[in-house]
Point group: D2
Chain length 411, copies 4
């Protein structure tokens, strides 16, 4: 057992750390200004493109994507940055310090990352050429259409969207929501999960198809907000109706009936990313708290000398240290024995990290008083993000039940 990061990790995190503090965090107020000047747009503002150009020039690009045969299939060249899941995890944490800017600056933002992974792993060369390459180039963005408003979508057997084979086409009908990024007109690709075989075995009913945003029958109905945030800086969260949307059969991702398995495959790395970004948000919050507690006084002394504030930061530090190790171990398991063997840990971090981050952010807001819930600090928006993560990919309780069931089956 060795808890020291390897040299690749040390080197890449130093570079990302520098980029974060020299370029990304100073760009946050620029984004706010550009957002205020363009209140009705959905998608990236110029500051993002600037950061992307710089990051790309420095080779800090697509760091999330491991290399692999599929990833290089269509072009014969390496696409990913060659980092392991464990190595990228440390990078992902740093991007959490500035969740609106850092992930997109490095072209490492959800949901594109997950979608690119799917295309790299399961896409045909043609699919990769058409969708993966422009995504890796940040020329387009994408959305993942899984959740439906009318059913508990964490239970995949309840999905109602239909994908019917009709000659050389698939015809898609259904209603999806919380398709993150889909308000962005640049989100050219929608990956849609639906049922091709509603009467098949429970986990073989579903398939995934690639749908161009401009395909007839696709309607982006409305944006949804998370708490009061519409997240229009990156493309929001959309409700999308598919009304007899017809795509060629070659747009199927993987095989028929593999939709559930593909969705599961997507989750593993995504959770590492989400969790590490969450820890990064919490570290940023703690950093803000430290500064605040040293400089703000009340009732006779700086907040840093209040027993309760000390206890909060101590509790936060303990939680962060323990949970980071758990996420890193999960990443290591994924790299060494694979996602299936890491199932307990993948569920564990999905449950434990977002709520801990929420708790840490809650304490941080309390230290900041009214400023903490306002837009003058990033805390409340981070809180909303962490809170939403407890529902993303299914509510924690589904995973707790599954983890508990597995534990109770152990000999």
């Amino acid at each position: 057992m060795d808890f020291a990061p390897d040299t690749t990790t040390t080197e890449i995190t130093e570079r990302v750390h520098e980029f974060l503090h020299e370029r990304v965090i100073p760009a946050e107020p620029v984004l706010d200004e550009q957002l205020a000047a363009t209140p009705h747009e959905w998608g990236f503002r110029p500051v993002v493109q600037d950061l992307q150009a710089q990051a790309r020039a420095e080779g800090l690009w697509n760091l999330f994507l491991p290399d692999g045969p599929a990833a290089g299939a269509s072009s014969g060249t390496r696409r990913g940055a060659g980092l392991t899941t464990l190595q990228y995890a440390a990078v992902a944490e740093l991007t959490g310090w500035s969740p609106r800017l850092a992930p997109v600056a490095f072209n490492c933002a959800a949901p594109d990352t997950g979608n690119m992974e799917l295309l790299a792993h399961f896409g045909t060369p043609e699919q990769q050429e058409r969708w993966l390459d422009p995504l890796l180039d940040a020329r387009i963005r994408s959305a993942f259409c899984m959740t439906e408003p009318d059913v508990a979508s964490s239970d995949a057997s309840q999905i109602t969207t239909r994908i019917r084979r009709d000659g050389d086409d698939y015809v898609i009908s259904g209603r999806k929501w919380f398709a993150t990024g889909a308000m962005n007109p640049d989100a050219a690709l929608l990956i849609v999960m639906g049922k091709t075989d509603p009467d098949g075995p429970r986990h073989r009913q579903q398939s995934m198809v690639l749908v161009g945003r401009d395909t007839p029958g696709v309607t982006v109905v409305r944006p949804l907000s998370v708490f009061g945030y519409d997240d229009r800086d990156h493309g929001g969260h959309a409700e999308v109706v598919f009304d007899d949307v017809r795509v060629p059969a070659t747009n199927l991702l993987g095989g028929e009936g593999e939709g559930f398995a593909i969705a599961q495959a997507r989750l593993g790395p995504g959770r590492i990313h989400h969790c590490m970004r969450g820890l990064g948000m919490a570290e940023r919050a703690l950093s803000l708290v430290r500064e605040r507690a040293r400089t703000r006084s009340a009732f006779g002394g700086p907040l840093a000398e209040k027993g309760v504030v000390r206890e909060w930061v101590a509790e936060s530090r303990i939680e962060l240290e323990a949970l980071r190790l758990l996420v890193l171990k999960t990443a290591w398991l994924m790299d060494t024995v694979g996602n299936r063997e890491a199932m307990t840990e993948i569920q564990a971090i999905k449950i434990a990290v977002p709520r801990a981050v929420q708790r840490i952010l809650d304490r941080a807001m309390q230290v900041f008083g009214a400023a903490g819930v306002s837009a003058d600090q990033p805390l409340a928006e981070m809180f909303a993000g962490a809170r939403a993560l407890r529902l993303a990919d299914g509510p924690d309780e589904v995973h707790l039940a599954s983890l508990g069931r597995a534990e109770l089956r152990r000999p």
Copy 2:
């Protein structure tokens, strides 16, 4: 000891309950439509005025205000509805079911209620005629300018706003924020807390003055948001700069040096109202959860049959029943022995209720999945409100420390 509500309470809550369910809750989507149609306005939309007219016609008006000599001074007639704090508490809970509409429908919304109480208790006949009467008539609104961005305002000794006597005038200089309602152009009255005697005894340095919104030197700088919500439907939360604002000395509320005492007096009833509304929000949430849990299924059965959902609603019910009693007892103490003797309880409910409501709303959001954090359900916005209450009037920790100190002094 008798836990049965008296007949006045029973009668008034029945009427308010009916009004709430027949008129207010059905008006919620109307408000949403009117807000969507007027995205740049701050203040009431027409649906509010409609509800106010109906409520007034039914005598459900200014229910929060007890009668008293001061209250009737200028007009010779009863102004308040004659309810005790305890009796009104039951009404306040019901208004929490629809926090954007019900309190304003009955002219019982913060911060006007607290401001009207101050004018009724401490105002001169002239002040009452000029400000209290139009507030009681809902012809104007008002704001309370206490919190400052640069200091821990829960520690009144840190207030930096200055109120200097200059001949027959007071001259006010300072910066306030989170002045709820002050973005509303109808908020004609600002009650401002500042220091008239910065070198006086700690709790005698502060005074309060009445400032017309259109007085030269008053600048409403910008709106502040709470978890992404700008609360423009009622007037938002503003940062306000007072730059040598000159008002006649007769605008002093109470005497010089009484600002802290007046602020304290304002808090007692306000906390009853806040807490009871919070319990009402939680009851609404539970009501939504019941409906959802009966009709939504996942993994083989309705949510209502999941052990975890059952436990959540049970825990929520227990917390609500216990805390409601504590708030009601506090109201009863205020009615019988006065705010000073009820200090422990007033602090206790301020601490215990908002966080319990936050917890209940958090569980409710979890039952609703993605819908829970969106604007399709009232939960996330209620959550933001409950969360902010943990900071309003000073963070909970200030009150915990004070309550703990008092407890440790008991023999």
Copy 3:
């Protein structure tokens, strides 16, 4: 609504309070000495009899028992003290300050109280004369044999003890445990729950019979401990085997098939008593903490000035005030509308109070350091008692599930 205690309550609690502080608490070290001198005995030590004599002389006797027709049937005189459940609740809280001595001093200790209630409500005149009168006189004690080691006894349908009718007798076979008090040789009466009709409707299978301790076939097998406490001062907790124990059919309590209903009836008042005593234990703990925090110093000042200690006592005070009101309201409901209508509240207090008391005691132990977990302070033993209450009458989770189910059924 009126939160003031009535004059009866005020008067009786003053007398009990005085007795508690003048006689009972000073007797605690005497009990410790007598226990140390008689390490192998089970049952009351002389100090208990002394206190009982004094309490009886002062009319502080059998305060738990309301008057009623059944209660006076055999003797023509009033047996109970005439207090309502609500009035006695305040007394019960005071007895919690000294849980080993105060309840027994007033002849108000479980399980005798519950057993006396059963005899008063359901007993025939003959049963009352034989068992109730000596219990009311403290000439004998009793045990309640419900829980079985081999099944989840909170699910009454799982009870395996058989009560077979055989001519004019019932014959009992089964194994019970945690029969509190049954190690005491003076526990002359065992009330045993078993199945007379194993194939009947779920809640009509059970009956209760009165069994003299010396009936052939009754074997008290062994004592059980709670944490490391054997509770021998009052009679411990026994495992008891019933091996073809034959009693006359007239020993049936109530009718055949009424065992479950009778057990339920027993629970209501018992929970009020348990919960109020729990609150009394917590108040005693807080009182000890106050004294300790004022007199003990660490790292530069008394514990009373540490932020964390202040927060603990504040949290404890809040919990106590809210939960006391909930228990008192439950008692009031039982007095006014009956146990059935108070079901939600009875379950709520059973769940909420013991765990709050446990939490308060846990914090108190932390303030006391090593002394807190030792026998030099009453905290650890009280903690064990509160912890056990979370299992008594079925684990909390059974009640949470039931309460949640009922809540989810509400319209």
Copy 4:
């Protein structure tokens, strides 16, 4: 970073695991019988000596002790087993499965381990020969006399025990308590902390001396219990009075004024051991819960199918996995950069692990019902041990405050 245990760890834990399950756990009922047969003795029963003989024969002996120059000084041979802190940590976890027997079987039980470490690190060859060798041989036992009844002993500046130099002797006067193991007549060595220089710098006032149990003036006053447990199987917890106890000056451990530093040095490995044993206790509890939940039914199905039980075991699994990693990383830091650099982590695990173990044991007791709090299951006794750990070496709050202060000082 590499989360795989090395081969030494794998090999030693396999052997310990086998010994644990084949010999130690089956010996638990034997210990109970031997304890019941000798209720008045303090110290090991024969079953312990049997296990020690077997463990020693298999080379599973003194595994806690790393090799080092000091350790081999007096005999020229290796004394320790040559395991690193990280390697031994995995062993310590396994010993937690049977806390009364496994640590002593391997001669790895507190407080002897810490005392042996002190002698190995700071003892002179003569001290090592006289005390360390027989301890390593399990011919004697030892106690650590630090905590005092009259002061907050976590604040070393408050220690009142005096160690005065008098010619070639030291003379010790003071009162200690919770000297674990000191009731055991075989505890031949008492290591006593006291002040040699009460007016010196805060952390240079204290020294440690080695005191033979039979030195005149040493009185073992009485045993202390922890939640009713007197822990007589290994030597209990004693109050010890030192009344002008005279020892030769060569009995000083380390130098004058080094008592505080030595005490701190003792804490690091001790916390790893305590925490890993705690995790082992929790794993044992989970293992018992799994068995129980599969075989016990209530209300229509096995406990394993209840949502709440599933959630409990899931939560327990998550906590265990995260905290184990944190303890292992702490051990790794101690091995690689030293205790001083690992201070944050050492404090973190001291705070986080015992309370998590307490929580897990609390849930486990709840699954077991009444059996859970009784001596029929090991849960309640383990709970008492975990609870006491939250006070050992100073209450958690002292460490939280220290950790928080350090965190707030970070840039």
